[in-house]
Symmetry: C2
């Protein structure tokens, strides 16, 4: 049984000072949101209001909760459970410090029974946000922490650094003996639908107990039941299961799950504690791409590229998906409903994978549960992005603690199929390399706890590509249609296409007098339309003017920009698919956004409005579709129009012989160009 607490919060300039006043706190949440609500501040996302929040980074915040002694049954004691405190903290009960720590991804469980009185006061002191001493303002300040770097400012994220209790926090009443951890592991032979399973259970106390373990399928049939007497605190139960229904990503089969029930029984056969979760069975490999061994073919010979072809249950899966960023600046606000809304959008876009980008948080449990249930693959970055995370002793200790917590939590989710050390770490702007201790440590920990899951140190690796992030290079005149046709990557793990937001999103944050024409040093700039990366991004005025001439209205500008975004994005997805089987992944940058932007590579506006590019991406990712490859965007009278016509097929189902008709439209005319009677392609084969 769990018991929620009500909190109030206040700030203070030094650790020793107490807050002068306390205000109501929302838990989980963020101190900034509590303060803004109490003071009735104008929204942080309006204009440049976010700048008013900067002082909150550098003060202490104390949460306070008063509660009476909880009525406990016999043989129970009271535990304090916190799933995530952001970031450095001290917890005191009735004036006594019960825990000091740091790390927002490491859960806390403390037996507080001996500290309890009739009336209790719990205090959680949050330290100022971590910053590398002497580093310039921005992401470099996050280079010695596991706190997401994005909060320190990015080309699509303002500098606004949340603090506070960002995940569940409650009291739990636990029996004398209970299950601390139960870990199901298995070695699967997918073609036989057979697995050697083992369950490792760790309990609180040695003694004369029993563990009852059940696996129950979706028809409520018990497919495994074991009752094992326990004397030590560590128990290992092994068995072999046959006739399994495998877990598949949604576009390749059913994401079958089993109910996994682990019960602890006392000497009178009473269940004193139980753990319940959903498990699935699948194998994962990351193997060499088709044709990748053929290179290098000249002397001196270097190595072949890094493997980038995913196999699930022995089957090659072309990964179509996107890069997931925090759907809100304030992690504490992100809840199950938000996750489900966004994951449902990803499903409707025909995506089978989400890469959880390393600048973001590790998501809460409800995210991974829903991915398990819906058959969405999860590529999980560790929280390192675009920095040189050095071999500093205290950072390495923090990373080891946090990474261990992350791995031990996420290994229970069948949807998690790839670990990645972090974002763009082997590029000049980060400056890490294969010898970086942080990445060697992550490899060590992943191998230790999840040896059957692939680990990559970062993305891009050799052969993979990030970018480009524009429709047209205004210096060279090169368009996406040209660079994508010449690029030959094993995996496009990030590619972007910027577009302006719709008018309703813009109205959320922009004063009306700034609407048109878009100008520097207005909300257009603070919301990333200018100077986000280059001076002209992400609005890309020059490119819009090149194709459409000057826009007369805001609506026209938005329509033009969103049209380019939709067309560019569609082309990249389809071209990446045409490059299959050498190419094995197409992941767009980026799916969502943490606040309302003026222009951005996202295809979902904050909080959850799809842009036109969302629909073009969804169309481009259909398992079977007709596709045209052409070499440029604009065609004029008297030019010879040329295109390749493809049938793209990522499906393993039989596609019957059929015909495909090609039309061209211009000046309101529609001309039938050709009829192609195609023969049934092989599974997963393009023709």
């Amino acid at each position: 049984m769990n018991y929620s607490l009500k909190f109030r919060v206040g700030f203070h300039s030094t650790k020793e000072n107490k807050p002068k006043t306390f205000i109501d706190a929302q838990v989980p949440g963020a101190v900034q949101l509590d303060y803004a609500k109490a003071k009735n501040l104008s929204p942080y996302y309006y204009a440049d209001n976010y700048k008013d929040y900067e002082w909150m980074e550098d003060v202490y915040w104390t949460y306070k909760s008063e509660f009476n002694y909880p009525g406990l049954e016999n043989n129970k004691s009271c535990w304090l459970v916190a799933k995530g405190i952001d970031f450095k903290y001290e917890i005191a009960l009735n004036g006594k410090v019960v825990l000091s720590g740091e790390g927002m991804f490491t859960p806390i469980e403390i037996n507080i029974q001996k500290f309890l009185k009739t009336q209790n006061e719990l205090a959680v002191i949050i330290y100022p946000v971590p910053k590398v001493q002497g580093a310039p303002k921005g992401r470099r300040q996050a280079a010695e922490t596991t706190k997401p770097a994005v909060s320190y400012g990015w080309d699509w994220h303002p500098r606004l650094i949340p603090s506070g209790i960002w995940d569940d926090f409650f009291l739990a009443y636990r029996p004398d003996n209970f299950i601390i951890e139960s870990v199901l592991d298995y070695e699967l032979v997918p073609e036989k639908k057979q697995a050697e399973v083992n369950l490792k259970v760790k309990t609180n106390k040695a003694g004369s107990y029993k563990i009852r373990w059940k696996l129950i399928d979706s028809d409520n049939q018990v497919i495994l039941e074991k009752l094992v007497p326990v004397s030590e605190t560590n128990v290992l139960i092994e068995d072999t299961i046959s006739n399994l229904s495998l877990w598949w990503p949604h576009d390749h089969g059913e994401p079958c799950l089993y109910h996994n029930q682990v019960e602890l029984l006392d000497s009178e056969q009473q269940v004193v504690h139980e753990k319940n979760d959903k498990v699935g069975f699948r194998s994962v490999e990351l193997v060499m791409n088709d044709g990748a061994w053929k290179k290098p073919d000249e002397f001196p010979k270097s190595r072949s590229v890094a493997p980038a072809q995913l196999k699930i249950n022995g089957r090659k899966i072309f990964l179509k998906g996107t890069n997931w960023v925090n759907p809100d600046i304030f992690f504490g606000k992100i809840d199950e409903k938000k996750y489900k809304t966004h994951i449902d959008l990803a499903l409707k876009a025909n995506y089978n994978v989400l890469r959880i980008w390393g600048g973001s948080i590790i998501n809460k449990e409800s995210f991974y549960k829903y991915c398990d249930e819906k058959g969405i693959l999860v590529w999980q970055d560790f929280p390192l992005a675009c920095n040189n995370y050095q071999n500093d002793r205290s950072y390495m200790q923090l990373l080891e603690k946090e990474a261990t917590s992350i791995i031990k939590r996420l290994r229970n989710h069948v949807s998690v199929i790839l670990w990645c050390g972090g974002n763009e770490l082997f590029n000049s702007w980060s400056g890490m390399d294969d010898q970086s201790h942080a990445l060697r440590l992550l490899n060590v920990l992943c191998y230790k706890y999840t040896p059957r899951l692939p680990f990559i140190a970062t993305t891009p690796l050799m052969g993979m590509g990030h970018g480009h992030y524009i429709f047209r290079d205004e210096d060279t005149g090169e368009e996406v249609f040209q660079w994508m046709r010449t690029a030959k990557m094993t995996a496009y793990t990030e590619f972007g296409m910027p577009g302006p937001s719709d008018i309703n999103t813009i109205k959320m944050f922009m004063p009306e007098n700034e609407f048109f024409p878009p100008k520097r040093e207005t909300s257009w700039e603070t919301h990333h339309a200018f100077n986000a990366w280059t001076e002209d991004t992400w609005l890309c005025n020059k490119t819009l003017a090149h194709y459409f001439g000057p826009a007369a209205t805001l609506e026209e500008l938005i329509e033009n920009g969103q049209f380019l975004q939709a067309e560019g994005l569609k082309f990249i997805y389809e071209e990446a698919r045409r490059q299959k089987p050498y190419c094995a992944m197409a992941l767009h940058w980026c799916f969502n956004e943490p606040w309302p932007t003026a222009a951005n590579n996202s295809i979902i506006n904050w909080p959850d409005t799809p842009k036109p590019a969302y629909y073009s991406a969804a169309a481009a990712c259909r398992p079977v579709l007709a596709s045209a490859a052409f070499e440029k965007f604009v065609w004029r009278e008297n030019e010879l129009f040329q295109a390749e016509i493809w049938l793209l097929n990522d499906s393993y189902k039989k596609i019957p012989d059929d015909e495909l008709n090609v039309f061209i439209e211009f000046n309101d005319k529609r001309i039938h160009l050709l009829q192609w009677h195609y023969k049934s392609p092989a599974p997963d084969e393009n023709i």
Copy 2:
């Protein structure tokens, strides 16, 4: 005190059978050599005699030794110590099996006291050599073992697979309590010549003892002395040392060593056991090459190359060296004298590094000791080469055991500065990749035991180059002068240049009637002059004919071939040096050879005769030298001869202003081309 044993050996067809006869055995040695000696066989290296040894792979061999009960002092017991048994074995004393195992790099120490009688019989049964079931004859048979793959046949090594006791084997009389292990570790601040040192000592038995630890410099000054009482079996002693004399590779300073003495004292302050070794202090980093971060510069962006610039004590060191292969087919024959002869040759060649190639053995202790003493850097491959070592459970267990033994032994040697998973594993002919469990495991183990040493999964990595191995490509006409000028690698970690052996070497193994002209299906072929790699390698008849026309005699052929080898090799070393600082390593393939070859890339003929290329390599590797870069080998009348003139400088010493005179010689004429008054180059700078 140690006690040697005399052995006899015999073979048998099944494990249960006993040998019919026993012959004298040399330990360390190899069963093949014992058998050949007893039967007075013609040398294995003569003609194709090695084929007569093949049956010996597939039988059991039993070593037998009879000895009386050793007279032991009080409180001592008798231990059996074996430093290396090749490969799978069972040890029985007086009919009782005391150990079964496999793995030639894992030492054995067994307390046999309780098994001893007045008269004793020790038996060591060697199993048939390990082979992957169903694999074709050749190196593929070695893909599930740590036994060196080279023995199974290579392009410069016959198929001849040694078996037996290949390193020291003796009885040791040990006190009641003794030092099992003492490990010195340190964190060095090289610019301060200061180190935080710690010594971890593991003893046999808890109790009331003391550890006395001394570090003594080369002038016999004690720079550290600690006396620490012991109660547990694990002791940690820490201290900080200043004014250290750092260990440097011989071409950058003195390879300073300290005597490290660890004594175990009993309650009466008597030394009951001690360990003595030589230690040095140096830091090692593998960092990005100068200019390497500038790439990639186009979209989509992949990663930058892998770091390949070594730093010792914070100083960039251009690595000049070679790939070391077994200097003998029979590992058991390799002794300290052999090692010293070869390492002395490497020193005289101005080499500062030896890469111990992954197809070979891990060398015996005397090798690393001499490298420590002489200031030769050691790049150590693990025993994986050109195979796909799969994630097979029993192989992984063997690899973990062997690699742990290798790391724990070699970490005590200051000369060992780089771990490498093995040879060319990320190339098509091996088929391993970043996800291979064997390589992830090696990274884990290296990080666990030697976190301060760099680890690379294999060579080549991204940016590094292997090859080419010929002077001229007879299909394209391209010469080494062209491909080396266009190659731009971070490190040339293998490049070869074949040449025939001298007449005396050839006489060792070739019947006189085969001498001239060289023909296929003679000793020329069995000794690698033909069909070793391509049909024409390693003699390269077509290339010789191209430059010199048909040779009239064997002597002329050898002279021409050795001339090309010397010139080609010299050019590669110098061109790699010219490409500094982006390029940071030049390692030739290969230094030595395991038996007398007819033609090979080696520059030392078996057993230890330098070829002319040895001297040209030595000249090309002088720290400071004048060098000419030209674009082809042959220049004819009326052609414009062009060359770049360089002063190559790998030294950190001040090179004074001076003049350099360039001459050209032809038709016995010598013409002075130019006089260059150069200004003193910066340390480590070419001009």
